[in-house]
């Protein structure tokens, strides 16, 4: 009865990965158990809390209600892919500076969700961030510092992209 293993190939944080997985293997368990990427957390396991959020081809998804076989051929990004060596991603910098976390359990999901929010809207208002981040639950912060961190990270990322393209502002 046990489902026979399936061979899948995907990209995780830019690295090609191939694995033989049971069809019932959840994407979050592929990441954590098979690939050792423990940054992505498991919370509710039914798609409500958002701490397992990763990017699939740039779009934020719940990895706890996605089978690994559904990610065959996809590009997956996790929180481990954000920093460049010792240099934190602007979102990580801002979450750190603004205290956009207390216990930190929701943080990997918040960061990955924020990546898509800023990708779709490089200049979000606090109201827009609050609306969009409502997909992810935080029981510590009250969201205020998370919202500020995302708005300011977006600002920093716009400045970075202007300086790399040489645009005048």
């Amino acid at each position: 009865m046990t489902g026979q293993k399936r061979h899948i190939t995907l990209t995780v944080n830019g690295r090609p990965v191939s694995a033989d997985v049971e069809p019932r293997r959840l994407l979050v368990d592929l990441l954590r158990e098979d690939l050792g990427l423990h940054g992505t957390h498991i919370g509710c396991e039914h798609g409500v809390c958002g701490t397992c959020t990763v990017l699939r081809d740039g779009a934020s998804i719940r990895s706890c209600i996605t089978f690994a076989v559904q990610a065959d051929g996809a590009e997956i990004s996790t929180v481990e892919g954000l920093a460049q060596g010792a240099t934190l991603h602007p979102l990580q910098e801002e979450f750190w500076e603004k205290q956009g976390l207390q216990c930190g359990y929701c943080t990997p999901g918040m960061l990955m969700r924020a990546c898509e929010i800023i990708e779709r809207n490089p200049d979000p208002t606090p109201e827009q961030v609050r609306e969009e981040i409502a997909s992810n639950l935080c029981r510590c912060t009250g969201y205020q510092f998370i919202t500020e961190a995302v708005v300011d990270a977006a600002k920093r990322m716009r400045a970075d992209s202007d300086s790399t393209t040489g645009a005048q502002t």
Partner: protein
């Protein structure tokens, strides 16, 4: 929890998927679309299909086009794609407004329009939109393809006219004029609404020429509020007409009470949300946005 084991196939055509459904009929096969309802049910082991037929590789099921005034959406089109589609915004703005209320953005990045309609949750938005817009649902099975009117599709909670060996392939939505509105009451942003209302109203020469109203959360399936539609037809679309239609919409409703709300609360919500939906739809129909 983790899902129980199952056999898995990811065919690349509808024909192949139907063959697999027939071949594995004894294993209680289920079709896997985006999985945003089915996988949570499997994680809780409330659903234990022996075989999953994943439609992710069936390219013919993905896409949006307008064909002779009819909006045609492939069943595997993701809700986030429907949400951002100019064709949908122009041809079926009611659908565009409703799809943004389905769960949260990361769920809509995986969830599909066909998956939501075939899942037939009585609280879900998209089956109500299909009902209000007189959509046609195209299904393919071993005997071929047939078209099911939305009014005949929803049979009960999580139950549709799809046969076990049929796959929902396409949603066909005729273009409607006038004004639209989708409004709902949910205790928490992104949760299933207690009550939702879809409305599409056409006005000609100062009179309601056509009205369609569908409700969620007050019956075993999404339902049309036929008495309210009849109350609107031919009437001048003023405050009295709207109030009479809202009363008619809830007359005879016997929603089930549950943890979230009593039957009386659901009836009261339905009345006031029909009111809101009609005000907005009529205002849009009169182009007073």
């Amino acid at each position: 929890m983790k899902p129980p084991p199952f056999h898995y196939a990811a065919p690349s055509s509808v024909a192949e998927a139907v063959e697999l459904l027939v071949a594995h009929a004894a294993a209680e096969p289920r079709v896997l679309a985006g999985g945003q309802s089915l996988i949570p049910l499997m994680n809780f082991r409330l659903a234990q299909p022996g075989h999953l037929i994943d439609l992710r590789n069936v390219a013919e099921l993905d896409g949006i086009r307008v064909d002779g005034g009819v909006l045609v959406i492939g069943a595997m089109t993701r809700q986030s794609v429907v949400e951002r589609s100019p064709e949908v915004a122009l041809t079926a703005p009611l659908l565009a407004e409703a799809v943004g209320l389905v769960a949260h953005a990361p769920i809509r990045n995986s969830g599909t329009i066909g998956g939501s309609i075939a899942h037939a949750d009585p609280a879900a938005e998209l089956p109500a939109v299909a009902l209000a817009l007189d959509a046609e649902l195209v299904a393919t099975g071993p005997e071929g393809t047939r078209t099911i009117p939305a009014a005949e599709f929803l049979l009960g909670p999580f139950s549709t006219a799809l046969r076990p060996d049929e796959i929902l392939t396409e949603i066909r939505i005729p273009r409607r004029g006038g004004g639209h509105a989708f409004v709902e009451f949910a205790r928490t942003h992104g949760n299933f609404a207690l009550v939702g209302v879809a409305a599409q109203v056409e006005i000609e020469a100062g009179r309601v020429a056509r009205a369609a109203i569908a409700l969620t959360g007050v019956a075993p399936t999404a339902i049309r509020a036929t008495a309210a539609e009849n109350a609107l037809l031919g009437a001048a679309p003023g405050a009295e007409t709207i109030a009479a239609a809202a009363d008619a919409a809830v007359t005879g409703l016997t929603p089930a009470a549950d943890l979230h709300a009593s039957a009386a609360t659901r009836v009261a919500l339905a009345r006031s949300y029909v009111h809101r939906a009609l005000e907005r739809a009529i205002s849009r129909a009169q182009d007073r946005r």
